[in-house]
């Protein structure tokens, strides 16, 4: 098994902690000594500001980021293990909010057209081969969600990719309620159209919210005696501890995602996919406070009746941004696009017109998805107090020739590129 081998290699490598007992926390980990990473460049990916520190040092303690700054003005406390990474760059671990590779593939129980009680958390397999690729590509947080076979596929879970057990991996459960606004669910059953699908979604969500609100009121002094686990997730949606993630694309579907879910029902939701002509809704989405996480298709081309680009190939995330949407990120829909190619999604976004002049392509891989998922207090940028999810790489992640050399999650070195390979070789 690769992970076991990898960990064995790490345990025996000088930079992986020397001869220490595996049970003894290593530098940077919870309970271990502090860790200082020195690098040529730190891309902190903060939402505001330049987000770049040259000749920098990052201090990690107890699995969290303690400080970062220029080397000349940042003192490394005594007792810290110092790792000089030379010309390498540091950036936050990347975040993919649309993946299906958290475990086994049984994530499309197409029992009913709405299956809000189903949870993919039961399918999580730590260190599965696909998630290992994510780790090795620097993707440290994923939203593992049900497929889009039905209008409501069930509940997703937010996971840290490189950790050993389900409990360690779990960042938030439920991570989201997955709603597929159209397209794929039309294949189900008797071939329904968009009118009926929107009816299904609206009915299920309204029922669920009514149930949840009634239950929350019951808690005021009354015993919680009625249980309907089909609607349990709506309590989390009402109290804001989770959100809706979507499969929504083409103009009229995205319109209804924003209009019904956010506008009418007041649920925290974001556009996921958002392809074809849906980018025309960017000003509306911005007004309604709805972000867009784009992929796996990263371009919009002519496809009647879905879009008419007048012959041009447009960048989907680029068009959202150009038309006024502030928060735009990237996904892979792995395994549709391999998870390890998340940064390539940003690269291709830029190739076709996404404005990266202020490094927003980097933010679209990190802080933007973190904010969208409501986990920016933990991940998404290199800022003091956040989880030490840090990747070490040889240059701009949007250039596919650059490889990931090391991946830290919560201060643990979970991946280190094999020695003896020349250049930035990932796999």
């Amino acid at each position: 098994m690769l992970p076991a081998l990898m960990l064995a290699l790490l345990a025996s490598s000088p930079l992986g902690g020397g001869e220490q007992d595996a049970a003894t926390p290593r530098a940077g980990e919870v309970g271990g000594p502090g860790l200082a990473l020195i690098a040529a460049k730190i891309l902190s990916a903060t939402l505001d500001g330049r987000g770049v520190v040259d000749n920098a040092v990052l201090l990690v303690r107890d699995g969290r980021i303690e400080a970062l700054g220029p080397r000349r003005s940042t003192e490394i406390p005594a007792g810290y293990e110092v790792v000089d990474l030379g010309a390498r760059w540091l950036m936050p671990g990347m975040i993919d909010l649309h993946t299906h590779i958290g475990g086994t593939g049984d994530i499309n129980d197409m029992v009913y057209q709405t299956n809000e009680g189903l949870r993919v958390s039961t399918a999580v397999v730590p260190h599965n081969p696909a998630i290992e690729k994510d780790v090795q590509a620097g993707i440290t947080t994923i939203l593992f969600i049900p497929g889009s076979g039905t209008n409501i596929g069930g509940q997703g879970i937010l996971l840290k990719t490189g950790l050993d057990t389900f409990e360690q991996m779990r960042l938030r459960d439920p991570g989201s309620l997955k709603i597929a606004q159209g397209d794929n669910p039309t294949r189900w059953g008797y071939g329904m159209g968009r009118a009926m699908m929107n009816f299904h979604i609206r009915t299920a969500v309204r029922k669920g919210l009514a149930h949840a609100r009634a239950r929350i009121q019951e808690d005021d002094g009354r015993p919680r005696d009625t249980v309907d686990i089909q609607y349990e997730v709506f309590e989390a949606l009402v109290d804001g501890s989770t959100q809706v993630s979507t499969h929504t694309q083409v103009y009229q579907l995205v319109m209804n995602t924003i209009r019904i879910l956010k506008g009418e029902l007041g649920i925290d939701v974001y556009i996921d996919h958002g392809e074809w002509a849906a980018h025309k809704l960017a000003p509306f989405a911005q007004r309604m406070g709805v972000a867009a996480i784009c992929g796996p298709r990263i371009i919009d081309t002519f496809e009647s009746p879905r879009s008419d680009t007048d012959g041009a190939i447009l960048s989907v995330p680029g068009e959202y941004k150009r038309k006024g949407l502030e928060r735009v990120g990237f996904n892979t829909d792995a395994p549709v696009v391999p998870g390890e190619e998340l940064p390539l999604q940003a690269a291709m976004g830029v190739r076709y017109g996404f404005d990266a002049s202020h490094m927003d392509h980097l933010r679209g891989l990190t802080i933007v998805p973190a904010l969208v998922a409501g986990i920016a207090d933990r991940v998404g940028s290199l800022e003091p107090g956040k989880d030490a999810d840090v990747i070490v790489l040889s240059g701009d992640p949007a250039d596919p020739r650059h490889g990931i050399e090391r991946v830290y999650i919560e201060g643990q070195l979970v991946y280190r590129a094999p020695d003896g390979t020349e250049g930035p070789r990932l796999w």
Partner: protein, 428 residues
């Protein structure tokens, strides 16, 4: 005449450039100085009706035997051909000066495995018989179709447009240039450009009554080749074998769709050992790289793509970038393809980037997109490098062409501007 403010350089800056110009030759002693041409001769006054231009950039990758890189450098074009490359000089009167201060200049990119001559999918697979050696794609070519126009805008200037791989021998392709507003006569470089053979996988799906196994596929190909050889030896005219005979006289090259370790070994053995042909092994995907040592022994050039890495279940979760594996084993003239529209034609350079991601050196990736395919196909007398005398097929990029965020600024084919980003806008 294209005018762009950033091309205008003050005399002082120009003088500085001239002073800073240097030629680097990584392989000392191997330089064939003559291949760069004589700059003085190239910049002599233009004769009546003669056209000339100079293309100036921060780096000029000549892709010659000596691996010359000029930084900065200039390419002098006269009447559609490269007259010389060298350090930056003032431009004589009459020459158009196309100057890009931060640009990387390379030869136009070449894709030996492409199906966009018809404008996209379709009209490339006449699956009449397992052997269709009498077919040519020439009648299906639409010069300058939108796929081709996008390729041009990505610096891809020459394509081998071929039939599909539905049958064992699907016919003869055409080598053509990605000129945008052009005619068949002006765009086509060679017709027939070479033969397309499919030795594995796709023809198994239904090539006549045979095609159910590799044994049958091998028999079908050997039978056709033997019939062509017999006709040649006997001086007998056979219309259906006319062009196949030219493969066996080595007049025409052959590109073979093959994959898997057994398919790759069969291809190298048949087309190099059984028949000594000017053959190029195309795809070579899946675990084909496992036959790399034998491939290297036969000397058959390898043309990888659209897959450039092996991600089979046998890899224990590892991904093997196989272009580098072939190179490490000593395979010759490695080149890359898109199999467009399987991969979009404009993403040829991305194939180089992905090969580099999995271990190939940047410079080798650049060779794999330019001089290697030209040499593999025997068209390097005119294409594949910026050496004097060759066709002026020149790509000007705003950075390293292997970075997908890089754009082509200007593309010349036969000395004519076929794409100018400021003039033509973004095509993709």
């Amino acid at each position: 005449m294209v005018t762009r403010p950033q091309q205008r350089v003050a005399a002082a800056a120009l003088a500085a450039l001239v002073l800073a110009a240097c030629r680097t030759t990584p392989e000392a002693g191997a330089a064939a100085a003559g291949s760069l041409g004589d700059l003085d001769e190239a910049l002599r006054p233009l004769g009546a009706g003669e056209r000339g231009c100079v293309v100036v950039g921060a780096k000029v990758f000549v892709l010659d035997q000596a691996d010359t890189i000029l930084a900065p450098g200039m390419v002098v074009v006269r009447d559609g051909r490269i007259a010389a490359v060298g350090p930056v000089r003032p431009t004589p009167e009459g020459f158009e000066r196309l100057e890009f201060l931060s640009a990387w200049i390379t030869p136009g990119l070449i894709d030996l495995h492409s199906h966009v001559q018809t404008g996209g999918w379709g009209d490339i697979n006449d699956m009449v018989l397992p052997i269709n050696a009498e077919f040519r794609v020439a009648p299906t070519v639409r010069p300058g179709n939108p796929e081709v126009a996008r390729a041009c805008a990505a610096g891809v200037t020459t394509l081998f447009g071929i039939p599909g791989s539905g049958t064992s021998m699907s016919g003869f392709g055409v080598l053509y240039k990605t000129k945008v507003d052009s005619t068949y006569e002006a765009a086509v470089f060679a017709d027939p450009g070479g033969l397309k053979v499919a030795q594995d996988s796709n023809p198994q799906r239904g090539a006549g009554d045979f095609g159910a196994s590799r044994a049958a596929l091998a028999w079908i190909l050997r039978d056709a080749n033997d019939r062509a050889r017999a006709a040649l030896e006997q001086g007998r005219f056979e219309l259906a074998l006319e062009n196949l005979e030219r493969v066996h006289t080595k007049e025409l090259p052959v590109l073979i769709h093959t994959a898997g370790s057994e398919g790759v070994a069969n291809t190298a053995r048949m087309w190099r050992r059984t028949y000594d042909t000017r053959s190029v092994l195309s795809h070579g995907c899946f675990d084909g790289w496992k036959a790399r040592a034998f491939v290297a022994q036969t000397g058959i050039p390898v043309n990888n793509g659209p897959r450039t890495f092996d991600y089979g279940p046998s890899r224990e979760g590892r991904m093997i970038g196989f272009t580098d594996e072939y190179v490490e084993a000593g395979a010759q003239l490695i080149s890359l393809n898109t199999d467009a529209p399987v991969m979009p034609q404009e993403e040829l350079a991305l194939q180089g980037a992905m090969a580099a991601r999995f271990g190939l050196s940047d410079y080798l990736a650049l060779r794999a997109l330019t001089i290697h395919p030209a040499r593999a196909f025997g068209i390097d007398g005119r294409l594949g490098s910026l050496e004097a005398g060759k066709d002026a097929d020149i790509a000007v990029f705003d950075g390293n062409p292997l970075d997908p965020r890089t754009r082509a600024e200007l593309v010349l084919i036969d000395g004519q501007i076929e794409y100018d980003r400021l003039r033509d806008g973004q095509r993709f």
